[in-house]
Amino acid sequence: MTTTTTANRMQHLVPASAVLALAAGVTFLSFTQEPAEAFLFPRVIAVAMLVLAVWNFARAALGLARVGSGVSLRPFLNILPGLAVVVALIFAGLTLLGFYAASFLGFLAIYTIYDPVPLTHGGGWLRRIAVSAAFMMVIYALFARLLQVQTPQGLLF
């Protein structure tokens, strides 16, 4: 199996630096926090993590990191609207509007954003609304009725 490599050295350096910083922070905390007994195992893991993170960073810095396709601009821009809907749903929508109402709107928004059917197509809207409503009915039956999960009600439902 071969893997196409498109990520350049700078791209590899970003996650390698992030992981190195995290490993250094975990190591620092593991050796400075009290009680020491509670950090015995974390110290072992932190040292292993730090060694591997330094190795990984060195490979990225020397241009030896070749695994991974990296992130290109077009797919990244494609992700943003959908991710924005998910973030809005989790940070505000679910508690503000209620789980089911917000999820219906979230489902509809994601479907609409990524549906290749033009927005001006009336039938497309009808299908999107019907599919979103049907899916939420299944979710309601599963979680509210079958599993009896209590969800925040919010302004709507």
């Binding site: 992981v19 009680p35 509670a38 195992f41 591997l52 990984n56 991974g68 979230g106 479907y111 979710i139």
Partner: protein
Amino acid sequence: MEFIAYFGNVFEPTAFLLLLGGTIGGLILGATPGLSPTMAVALLIPFTFQMTAAHGLILLGAAYTSTVAGGAVSAVLLKIPGAPANVATSLDGYEMAKRGEGARALHLSFLSSGVGGVLGVLLLIFLTPLLSRWALAFGPSHLFWLAILGVTVIGSLDSRSFVKGLLSGCLGLWLAMIGYDDIQGAQRFIFTDSLAGGINFIAAMLGIFAVPQVLDMFAKGRSTAAVVSIKVSPQSVGDSMREIGRSGRALSIGTVIGVIVGLIPGVGGQIAGLVAYDQTRKMSPHRRKFGTGHSEGVIAAEAANNAMVGPSLVPLLTLSIPGSPTAAVLLGGLLIHGIFPGSDLFDNHPDVAWTFINSMLIGQIMMVIFGIMIASWAAKIARAPQPVMAAAVVILAIFGTYSVQQSMDDVLIMLVLGVGMYFFEKFGFSAAPLVLGLILGPIAEANFIQGAMIAEAGDGALPYFFGGVMNLFLIVLIVASVGYSFWSNVVHARDRTEAPRPDNPIEVTP
């Protein structure tokens, strides 16, 4: 032959309905491009909370079996493998479908999956009790090394870069330590109130396995690329069964390779299918026909990837070391019911263990029956719109995560881990070792602390953790798995500098 005593449990109405639902649902999820078996099983875990352990495992086991087999549908009809395990199936399956033999290819897929799957589960039935007896002799130091072995094996073998694989495993072990320490009651790595309760591993699993797949679907944008529509003409099942009967070589090579690969922790179905395909091609007098729509290619690949399922549970159920990423998620499903693999499972919960294993056996047969039944309308399932699937997975992941502890913090953690994993995966980090670190972290730590206490009362930590045949054996396995992975990375890097061989038909660029 203890397993026979528990066969009746599988046919209890609730258990049988769950098996049925898991099989049909798994086939549909597997047939849908972009939904991996691991994610399907992870999405189902929240539903198992209110079930008994046996019922929960029946559902998860049925989904595991049938998603792997269901992946053949989109591999054959769209040349898009429903799961990584079905990559090899698409090489000849799609060519058959283009010739109008889609139904035949699907029948052969499900029949060979069934044969391989049944033999794989039989191995699970006969090997697991023996290994679990052996596991009885394990003390804290051995269990500590076993947990570390689980992480290093998956980290080094399941990853394209062994440094990043091991680093992912360490990150998982660290994530498991966030929250309150069980023994000292001390706070560890709690940077925000959301982390006070630690990282719920179901939230982590859903985030790590589901969110990256959703983001992958988002990344395609408003894709209007037309999927080539292939008509599935009716085909006699009897003809397909006779063809399976005549394809003993492909079937046996696929099954044997699948079983061996399944037993090796961390390897997984994709490799089983590809290795079986390649070996069958090499041993076939019709090797030139491979890649042009030759049925032996489909049979070998599908027999292998389902034969892998049962054996991949052997190290899981006996030693807590999952044989595949999906088995790692199943381990989580066991632990949420307070059941630990090994002797605890077979001595204290034999009903759970054997009902689950028996259901896998019946599930393989049901998978064949329903797989063949859906073959005629499989094309519709395989063309399920990606925006609908993406939206559905997002909502299911949110509800599934929230339902565990009714906590919005868990939902937040799920999102953060998922988005982080998506970007880290783009740079070669792996999800499976991270999740395994998260699951095995508490087991490793508890046995490390217990071992340290015993060592303090005895000869000290060094002889306790590094002395004895079993400790040394496990340490050698850890070093060997890391060493092998390092060596294969070096060889792979060297190969990359050479020109690709044009006659190698199984090179796949994901």
